[in-house]
C-alpha cells in the first residue's frame, strides 16, 4: 500500500476515541456520557480530564486554579493583554480580542513556550538525577543541547509576587515538596550567583510536573490562564473613545533606518 492509499483509509469519515456529539440526543466525552456521567465535574476539572484522560485530584486542581487566579492581571500594558485592549480600541470583537491575546501567550519569555521548556527540563532532570546525575551535570547538558534554561529571570522585573502565596497554599495542602518543585528551588540556589531568580512560569511548570502532566498537557490546560486579565482590558478600551488606548503620535516612533532616498524611476525627493 503506498502513502496515497494509506491516506485514503482516512477519507470521508472521522474515527475517534475522544468523543462525539449526537445533536438532539447525547454527547460523548472520552468514553462518558457528558450530561449524565460527567455533570458533577467543574469546568476546569473537565478540561483536565479532556486533556489527560484521567481525573486530577481535587487538591491538585485547587493549586492549578489558584495559579490561574494569581496571574490574572488586568493590566493593558502587558503584551498579550495589550492586544485585547488594542482590539477594544479599534472596536474589534471580544472573541477576536481574546483569541489574539491567547495566541500571543505562547511566548518564549513568558507563557506557554517558557512553561513547556521549563516543565520538560524539570521532568528530564528529575529522571536523570534519580539515575545518578548531579544537578551541575544536568544543567551543563541542558545548556549544551537546549541553549537556554527557561524559567529563571523575569522580563521587566526581579522577583515574583505570585510565588509566596502559591507556595503557602501548596504547603497548606501538603503539595509543596514534590520532586519537581523542590528541584525548581534547588536550581534557583544554583543560579542565584548569576542573578537569575525562579520565575512564576518555572514554579507553575514544576507543579505541573509534580502533578504528572507532560509539557503538552500543561500547555493545553493553561491555555486560558491569562483570560481573566484580558477581559477587563478589552472592556475598558471599548468604553474609551476609539483609538484612545496607547495612541502613538508620529514623534513617539524613533526611526533608526536609512536616510530618505529616491525610488528607482522617480524624481529625487
Amino acid at each position: 500500500m503506498n502513502r496515497a492509499e494509506q491516506l485514503m483509509l482516512h477519507v470521508g469519515h472521522l474515527t475517534t476515541s475522544v468523543g462525539a456529539a449526537y445533536p438532539g440526543s447525547r454527547a460523548v466525552f472520552r468514553g462518558h456520557d457528558l450530561h449524565h456521567d460527567l455533570g458533577d465535574l467543574g469546568w476546569f476539572e473537565l478540561c483536565a480530564f479532556g486533556i489527560t484522560g484521567r481525573r486530577l485530584p481535587k487538591d491538585h486542581l485547587r493549586v492549578l486554579e489558584f495559579i490561574w487566579t494569581s496571574t490574572s492581571y488586568p493590566d493593558a500594558r502587558i503584551w498579550n493583554n495589550r492586544v485585547a485592549a488594542l482590539a477594544g480600541t479599534t472596536r474589534s470583537t471580544p472573541n477576536l480580542a481574546l483569541t489574539a491575546g491567547h495566541a500571543l501567550s505562547e511566548a518564549m519569555i513568558y507563557g506557554r513556550r517558557n512553561e513547556y521548556r521549563a516543565l520538560t527540563f524539570f521532568a528530564r532532570t528529575v529522571q536523570e538525577m534519580r539515575a545518578g546525575a548531579t544537578l551541575a551535570d544536568c544543567l551543563a547538558h541542558h545548556l549544551q543541547h537546549q541553549g537556554k534554561l527557561a524559567g529563571y529571570g523575569r522580563p521587566l522585573a526581579s522577583g515574583d509576587e505570585r510565588i509566596a502565596p502559591t507556595m503557602a497554599l501548596a504547603r497548606q495542602l501538603g503539595l509543596a515538596e514534590g520532586p519537581h518543585v523542590t528541584l525548581a528551588f534547588e536550581v534557583e540556589r544554583e543560579l542565584l550567583s548569576q542573578g537569575k531568580q525562579l520565575n512564576y512560569g518555572a514554579l507553575v511548570s514544576a507543579f505541573g510536573a509534580d502533578f504528572g502532566l507532560t509539557g503538552r498537557e500543561f500547555t493545553m490546560l493553561f491555555f486560558p490562564v491569562f483570560v481573566g486579565g484580558m477581559q477587563p482590558c478589552y472592556l475598558e478600551a471599548a468604553a474609551k473613545p476609539p483609538g484612545a488606548v496607547f495612541p502613538t503620535p508620529c514623534g513617539d516612533v524613533r526611526y533608526q533606518g536609512v536616510a530618505k532616498r529616491a525610488w528607482p524611476g522617480s524624481a529625487p525627493g
Binding site: 503506498n2 502513502r3 496515497a4 491516506l7 470521508g12 469519515h13 472521522l14 474515527t15 475517534t16 476515541s17 468523543g19 462525539a20 456529539a21 449526537y22 445533536p23 440526543s25 447525547r26 460523548v28 472520552r30 468514553g31 456521567d37 474589534s92 470583537t93 472573541n95 477576536l96 483569541t99 489574539a100 495566541a103 513556550r113 513547556y116 521548556r117 520538560t120 543541547h145 537546549q146 527557561a150 509539557g215 503538552r216 500547555t219 495612541p247 502613538t248 503620535p249 508620529c250 514623534g251 513617539d252 516612533v253 524613533r254 526611526y255 533608526q256 533606518g257 536609512v258 536616510a259 530618505k260 532616498r261 529616491a262 525610488w263 528607482p264 524611476g265 522617480s266 524624481a267 525627493g269
Partner: protein
Amino acid sequence: MSVSPIHTRIWLEEPEADSPFATRAAHCHGYDVFGAMLGRARWADMVFLLFRGEAPTARQSALLDALAVALANPGPRDPAVHAAMSGGVGGSPAAASLIAALAVGAGQSGGAREVFLAMRHWAAHGTLLAAWQEGLASVPMMPDDTWPQPEHAAGFDPNGVSAATIVRQTLTVLASLSDGPCLPWLFEHREALERAAGLPLAMTGVAAAALADLGLSPEEGEMLHLLLRLPGSAVHALEQWKTGFKNFPFYPVNLLDDPAERHAGQAAVMPSTTSGDAA
C-alpha cells in the same frame, strides 16, 4: 515625546502640521511610499522592500510575484483553507477565518513552520549534495518547544508518492526566474534529494528555496509564507458562507469508545457510527 518610544528601522512617518496623529509623508526604508512609490511600485516590490530593506531587482520582483501566484490559493482541500471555510460557513468574522487559516497553515506538515525548517536546511547545507544527503538521512531532534517534533524531512511531502506536477511546474518556472543559487540547484538535484529524503518534493520545499533565493532568513520566510497563502483562504471562506452549511461536509463519525455500546442491552442506544446528516 513618550518616555518609551517605538524603535524601527523600517518606517518613518512625518506628521501633518495640525495633528501629530495624521501622516503627511511615510517613508519605507527611505523611500517615499505615497509620494514616489505609489503608482510606480508593484505589490511584490513593496513586500520585498519591507522584508529586505532594499528595492528589488526586476528579476527578484518577478520571482516574488511568481511565488505569490503559486502560493495564493492552496485550494479547498488544504487544511488551512478548510479551516478558513469552517469559519466562513458558520458566519464567523472575516478575521476569524484568516486566523484559522494562519493557525492551521502555520504547521510543520505542509505549513509555514515546515518552510522555516526547510530554509534552515538551505542555510546549513547550501548547495552541497553530500551535506543535504547527510542532513536528510534522519529527522533532527529539535529543542524543547510547544512545536511538536518534526516527523518528516522538511520540504518533502510525507503523504506523497511522486512529486506532483504543480510542484514540478512551480520549480521549473521559479528556477528560471531566480538569480539565486537554491532554485536552480534544486531543479538540477531534485531527484537525488527525494531519494535522500525518501519522499517527493513538496510545494513547501520549492517555496523555501525561492524565499532563500530572495535573501530571506528562515524567520522571514515563515512569515511571508503565512501571508502569501491567505488570499485563497479568504475567498473560499466567503464562498462557503454563500454556499451554506447544508452543502459543506459534516463527516460521519466512527466512535471507538462509546458508553452506549458498553451499556448495550440496558437501554435503547444510538448507533456509534452516525452519518454526517444525522449528526
